[in-house]
Amino acid sequence: MAATKDKVYKCLNPVGIQEPVDISPLAPRLDTLEGKTIHFSITGEPDITIALEKKLKMDYPDINWTAKKSYTPMPNQLTDEEIKTTDGVILGVCW
């Protein structure tokens, strides 16, 4: 019995296969927000997003604000063409 108890087994790995991921640096930040086009991607949580959209537009009139709304956590995304003319994006409340 002792021999069996001490027997060494090779045990297999159940963890899924991770394809290698290329890590990207974050996009360079902006020097200023003045005159820039900043997009607000609204994803539900109206108690926060309504107040935030209102405050952004009222307190930061020098920024060109754009917005798209979704009431689910899935953002209503910018098109590739719209991305070309957008300087920054705020996404909330979700990831």
Binding site: Y9, C11, P14, Q18, E45, L52, Y71, T72, G92
Partner: protein, 482 residues
């Protein structure tokens, strides 16, 4: 997160606003998409919006302008080691190794097992996995791929995914892949036998998703000759403990979610309080021989043949509920038209068959919307048949029509905003814009399509009908994995 990754990689700076307890998930998912250091500002779950926004609006704007840190500028390749042999040692040492845990911070703040569901497993030695692999003709190094092309049913929060035959299955949320050998390894850990392996491989085809931030429950239901072949419990207590078949198959789903999907509570599996159906796993089966004449088996409902063995993989958000009947109460309704149910249905003194669903649906859509999965005993299915429902489709249609409520009532539901996208879209049945509808316009609470409902007939005796509060899942061929 794929959207944020796309923007950052396109040179557009982003800031995420989200709750602090979601940070683990943002970091973890960010890594999978190559942006592990995405900027995040925390909002509050409890402070009223206008006051909350004052606390962090400056930080949001700073997130777009504050220069990048050294860490945020990092690039490189994330390629963790993936050895085929995970551990070498005695069985006791291996048991302790596979049982190891790590502390997961808030919102968990407790130890969570790395490889298991919390209970001990059968150690997956090379010998045991080799034996398990005798249960399939597929090669150990074969990647899990879809065996049939299927369009996913539409709808938010469902577990449905479109798939094309031959495509490699990605296990959500980490988008990992798996080989037949890895699935066999997990089948060993769960306590399965080689003859169970084709079922586990078919379940793996689903990608073993674990749902969203609400309360997603996962379950699998088998249909076809495999049910008798494996001697599954389809009768008394089939959702409960004791079956050497139902239990390890159900457990396999959860062990695959943990290992192949990389699903961790509080990190990327955010179901708030979790679901007891996922604790140990839930596997049940249809008793096709108990179906009334003309009622299709689950396999046939998915365009498979009667002799095909399939598994339906479900993810539903509403939990599980049933309707209690007093001792003899249901039987009195059908035998002689006596008792409370007969009074409610207005059939006092009239012997059955009566449509007991009239009693059952009293509060079916009171606090949720969408289709339902009803698991009923043969006697109750027979009563529905004798009452006049000559097919499952007839029941689905009846249920769906009963679900219509006026827009004024629908508007009072929290979930309503989600499916209508804030009332800005087109209602799928009437094709009218939500905002054009009058308050009394009827809309279906039971989802857009009657056949999203599902009926499973089991083989128990005591009259009960359970409601798995969500519609049908997707079906996968077991035979394709034999």
């Amino acid at each position: 997160m794929p959207y944020i990754a796309k923007l950052e990689k396109a040179g557009v700076p982003t800031v995420i606003v989200d709750f602090e307890d979601q940070l683990n998930m943002i970091r973890h998912t960010g890594l999978e998409y190559g942006v592990p250091n995405a900027r995040v500002v925390h909002s509050s779950r409890t402070i009223p919006g206008p006051e909350d926004v004052e606390n962090w609006v400056e930080a949001v704007l700073e997130g777009l302008t504050k220069p990048l840190t050294k860490k945020e500028k990092e690039s490189g390749r994330y390629a963790p080691p993936q050895e085929r042999i995970l551990f070498e040692g005695t069985l006791d040492e291996a048991q302790a190794f596979y049982q190891k845990n790590r502390h997961v911070p808030i919102p968990v703040d407790a130890p969570i097992c790395v490889y298991t569901d919390g209970l001990p497993i059968i150690v997956p030695t090379e010998e045991k996995v080799k034996e398990m692999l005798t249960g399939t003709s597929h090669k150990p190094d074969e990647l899990i791929t879809y065996q049939r092309s299927v369009e996913a049913p539409a709808g938010f929060a469902g577990m449905g995914i479109s798939r094309k035959k031959g495509d490699v299955v990605k296990f959500h949320p980490n988008e990992w892949t798996a080989t037949v050998e890895k699935v066999a390894t997990i089948a060993v850990m769960a306590g399965c036998k080689p003859e169970h392996l084709p079922v586990i491989l078919a379940i793996a085809e689903s990608g073993c998703r674990t749902g969203t931030t609400v309360m997603n429950s996962q379950a699998v239901c088998l249909s076809g000759p495999i049910v008798d072949e494996l001697q599954m419990n389809t009768g008394c207590g089939m959702f409960g403990p004791g079956s050497p078949v139902n239990a390890p198959i159900g457990r396999s789903y959860q062990l695959m979610a943990i290992n192949l999907s990389g699903s961790i509570p509080g990190v990327n599996r955010m179901s708030s309080l979790g679901s007891p159906l996922n604790n140990g796993g839930t596997c049940f089966a249809e008793r096709a021989s108990s179906l009334p004449p003309g009622w299709l088996g689950l396999n046939e409902e998915y365009s498979f043949e009667k002799d095909d063995s399939v598994v339906m993989v479900m993810g539903f958000e509403g939990g599980i509920s049933g309707r209690q009947f007093s001792p003899g109460g249901y039987r009195a309704l059908q035998k002689s038209g006596h008792g409370a149910i007969a009074r409610r249905l207005g059939v006092k003194g009239t012997p059955g068959p009566h449509n007991w669903l009239e009693y059952y649906i009293h509060s079916l859509w009171a606090n949720r919307e969408g289709p339902v999965t009803l698991v009923m005993i043969p006697e109750m299915a027979k009563h529905l048949y004798e009452y006049g429902f000559k097919s499952k489709d007839a029941v689905y249609e009846w249920l769906w029509k009963k679900s219509f409520r006026p827009v004024s009532e629908y508007r009072d539901r929290s979930w309503g905003d989600m499916t209508t996208n804030g009332w800005m879209g087109i209602e799928s049945v009437s094709k009218k814009h939500w905002k054009e509808m009058t308050d009394d316009f009827p809309v279906p609470m039971g989802g857009p399509n009657p056949v999203n409902n599902c009926i499973i007939v089991a083989s128990s005796e005591e009259e009960i009908c359970l409601n798995l509060e969500g519609g049908r899942g997707q079906a996968y061929s077991i035979d394709a994995w034999r």
